[in-house]
C-alpha cells in the first residue's frame, strides 16, 4: 500500500510539476512586466519634477531680471533697460503659467502657487508703478531708496515662497527617484527570478526528456527481447510440429509397408498350403483314404479363410489410411446404387427397399460408399431367411441431432451383446446361421470415426436390427 501511495504521489508530481513551474514562471514574468511599466511611469514622473524645477528656476531668474532691469532704468533712464524689463515681465508671466500647468496634478503645489501668484503680480504692478513715476519725474534718490526698501521686503517673501515651492518639488523628485529605483530593483529581481526559474524549468525538462528517452529505450529493448523469445518459441514449435509430422509420416509409411507385406508375404505361403493340398486332392485322390481327404479339404478351407481374413484386415486398415476429403454426396442415390449391386450379386429381388429421398451429407465419397456396402450388405445378409424382407434407409432426429439409420426386419440380435458388434471379428452368429468375418461393422465404425461421428445399433432377436450413425461432430450437427 505504501509503495502504491508513494508511487501515486510521484505520478502526481510528475504530471503536475511542470504545469506548476510554468504557472510560477508566468506569474514572475507578469510581475516583471508590471515593474517595468512602473519604472517607465516613475521615470516619467521624475522627468516631470525636473521640468517643474526648471520652470521654477526660470521663474526665479525672470523675477531677478525684472528687478535688475527696473533698477537699471531707474538709475539710468536707458530705454534698453525698459525693453529688457518688458521682455522679462512677459517671460515671468509665461513662466508662471507654465508652472501652473505643470503642477496641475498636484493640489498642494497649486495651493502654494495660489499664494505665490498674487505676490508676483503685486511685485510687477509695484515695479510698473515705479517705472511710470521715474518716467514722469526723473531720477529721485529718495524715491528710489524707498522703492528698493519696499521691493526688498516683497522680494524676500517672494523668494521664501518660491523656495518653499521648489523645496516641495525637490522632495517630490527625491521621492519619485526613490520609487523609480525601487521599481528598477523589483524588475531586476523579477527578471532574475524568472531567468532562474526558466533555467531550472529547462533543466528539468531536459532531465525528464532524457529519463523518458532512457525509459522508452528500455521498454523497446524489453519488447525486442519478448519478440525474440516469441520467435524462438515459434521456431521451436514449428520444429516440433515438423518432427511430429515426420514421425507420423514415418509411422504411416511403416503401416503401409506392413500391410503390403501382410498381403504379399502372408498370402504366398497360404497359397502354397492351400494349393498343394488341393493338388493332392485333385491329382492324387486315389492315394488317400476318405478321412485323409477330409483333412486335406480342411487344410484347403482354412487357408482360403485365412486369405479372406487377411484381405478383410487390409481393407479395414486401408479405411484408416486412405486420403480423407468431404464433398456433398447424395446418400439416397448412393444407397440405391449399392443396393442394386447387392441385388445383382445376391439375386434376391423380393427385398423391399425403402430409401428416404434427398439424404445429403458432406462426407468422403469413397468411405461413404464402403459404409453403405457394409451396412446394406449386413441388412441383406440378415434378412436372407426373412419372409417379405424390408430394408429402410433414412434420417431422424435424436436429441436435436440428425441421425442416419439403416434398418431391417431380419434376424436381429441380442442387445446384451451389442458392444461386440463393432469389434473386429466380433460376431453374434455362427457360420452355420450366417456367413461372415465379423469385420464389416468394425470397418463401419472406423469410417464413422474418420468423420468424427458416432455409430450404435439397436435390435431384437427375430425382430430385426437398426444401425444409427452421425457423419460429423455433434457441435457441427450439419446434415442436409
Amino acid at each position: 500500500m505504501m509503495r502504491v501511495g508513494s508511487a501515486d504521489l510521484a505520478r502526481h508530481v510528475d504530471s503536475l510539476g511542470p504545469w506548476v513551474a510554468l504557472g510560477i514562471l508566468g506569474l514572475v514574468l507578469g510581475l516583471g512586466a508590471r515593474s517595468t511599466l512602473l519604472v517607465v511611469g516613475n521615470s516619467a514622473w521624475v522627468e516631470h519634477s525636473h521640468q517643474v524645477i526648471e520652470a521654477l528656476d526660470e521663474l526665479a531668474l525672470d523675477v531677478s531680471v525684472t528687478m535688475s532691469a527696473r533698477r537699471g532704468f531707474s538709475l539710468t533712464g536707458d530705454s534698453d533697460q525698459l525693453a529688457r524689463y518688458s521682455t522679462a515681465t512677459r517671460d515671468l508671466r509665461s513662466a508662471t503659467r507654465r508652472v501652473r500647468a505643470l503642477t496641475s496634478d498636484n493640489p498642494g503645489q497649486q495651493r502654494r502657487l495660489d499664494g505665490l501668484e498674487p505676490l508676483l503680480e503685486k511685485t510687477i504692478v509695484r515695479r510698473d508703478a515705479v517705472i511710470t513715476y521715474r518716467r514722469a519725474h526723473g531720477f529721485q534718490p529718495d524715491r528710489e531708496a524707498q522703492a528698493t526698501r519696499e521691493g526688498t521686503s516683497a522680494y524676500d517673501e517672494l523668494v521664501l515662497r518660491m523656495g518653499d515651492f521648489a523645496a516641495e518639488e525637490r522632495r517630490l523628485l527625491v521621492e519619485r527617484e526613490r520609487r523609480t529605483a525601487e521599481s528598477v530593483l523589483r524588475t531586476e529581481v523579477s527578471e532574475g527570478i524568472g531567468a532562474g526559474l526558466s533555467v531550472t524549468l529547462m533543466a528539468t525538462v531536459i532531465v525528464r526528456l532524457r529519463r523518458e528517452g532512457r525509459r522508452r529505450k528500455r521498454s523497446e529493448d524489453t519488447v525486442r527481447e519478448s519478440e525474440k523469445a516469441i520467435k524462438v518459441l515459434n521456431e521451436d514449435l514449428e520444429r516440433r510440429v515438423g518432427e511430429r509430422t515426420a514421425e507420423l509420416k514415418m509411422t504411416n509409411a511403416e503401416l503401409e509397408s506392413f500391410s503390403y507385406s501382410v498381403v504379399h508375404d502372408l498370402r504366398a505361403p497360404l497359397r502354397g498350403m492351400g494349393g498343394f493340398a488341393e493338388i493332392l486332392l485333385s491329382e492324387h485322390q486315389d492315394s488317400f483314404s476318405a478321412d485323409a481327404q477330409d483333412c486335406l479339404r480342411e487344410i484347403h478351407r482354412n487357408a482360403a479363410k485365412m486369405a479372406t481374413l487377411i484381405d478383410a484386415l487390409v481393407s479395414m486398415s486401408r479405411v484408416m489410411r486412405s486420403a480423407f476429403g468431404r464433398t456433398r454426396v447424395d446418400l439416397s442415390a448412393l444407397a440405391r446404387v449399392v443396393a442394386s449391386q447387392l441385388a445383382a450379386v445376391e439375386g434376391r429381388p423380393s427385398v423391399d427397399l425403402v430409401v428416404q429421398e434427398s439424404l445429403r451429407a458432406d462426407v468422403d465419397p469413397a468411405l461413404a460408399r464402403t459404409l453403405f456396402e457394409v451396412l446394406l450388405g449386413n441388412a441383406w445378409k440378415f434378412t436372407a431367411q426373412t419372409e417379405s424382407a424390408r430394408i429402410e434407409i433414412g434420417d431422424t432426429e435424436v436429441d436435436g441431432e440428425r441421425v442416419l439409420f439403416v434398418r431391417d426386419n431380419g434376424a436381429g440380435f441380442d442387445m446384451a451383446h451389442a458392444e461386440k458388434l463393432f469389434a473386429p471379428f466380433g460376431r453374434l452368429h455362427t457360420d452355420g446361421e450366417f456367413q461372415g468375418l465379423g469385420i464389416g461393422l468394425a470397418t463401419a465404425r472406423r469410417i464413422i470415426q474418420r468423420h468424427s461421428g458416432r455409430i450404435w445399433a439397436d435390435g431384437q432377436v427375430g425382430r430385426g436390427a437398426a444401425v444409427y450413425f452421425t457423419l460429423c461432430p455433434r457441435a457441427a450437427g450439419r446434415l442436409i
Binding site: 503390403y260 498381403v263 504379399h264 508375404d265 498370402r267 504366398a268 505361403p269 497360404l270 497359397r271 502354397g272 492351400g274 494349393g275 498343394f276 488341393e278 493338388i279 485333385s282 487357408a303 482360403a304 486369405a307
Partner: protein, 149 residues
Amino acid sequence: MNKVLLLVEDNLSDEKLTVRAFKKSGVSNEIVVVRDGAEALDYLFGTGKFEGRDTTALPTVMLLDLKLPRIDGLEVLRRVRADERTKCLPVVILTASKEHEDVARGYSLGANAYVRKPVDFSEFAEAAKTVGLFWLLLNEPPPKSTGAS
C-alpha cells in the same frame, strides 16, 4: 517356332504352382524362371549370368511379380520399357497385391495386363490357363524387327 515364357518369381512354392498350373492347362511351352529383378534384366539384355544369350530371341510374354529381391518388379518394367530392344515385350504383372496404387503404377509404366494371384489353386490354375492361352495362342506378338531396331 519356339515360344518361351519368362517367369520372374522369387517364391519357390509360387513358381511350382504357376508352372503346374500352366502344365495342367495344356501349356507346353518352355518356361524360363528367374529369381529376381536383376536376373530378369540379365536374361533380357544378355548380361551377367546370361552373358552371350541371343537377345533378339525375346520371350513371348514376361510374367512379372512385383515384390522381388534386389530390383523390384516395377523397376524391371521401367527399364524394359526404356530399352529399344524390349520396349514392345508383352509384360503381364502377376502378383499378390491388389493395392490400387500398384495397379495404377503398373499400367502407367506400360504393363500389358495385371493379374492377381488367387490363393485358391483351382482359381489360380484357371487364371494361368487364360493368360497362357491368350498370350501364347491368341495374341499376335510384335514383329521381330520392331523389337530389334
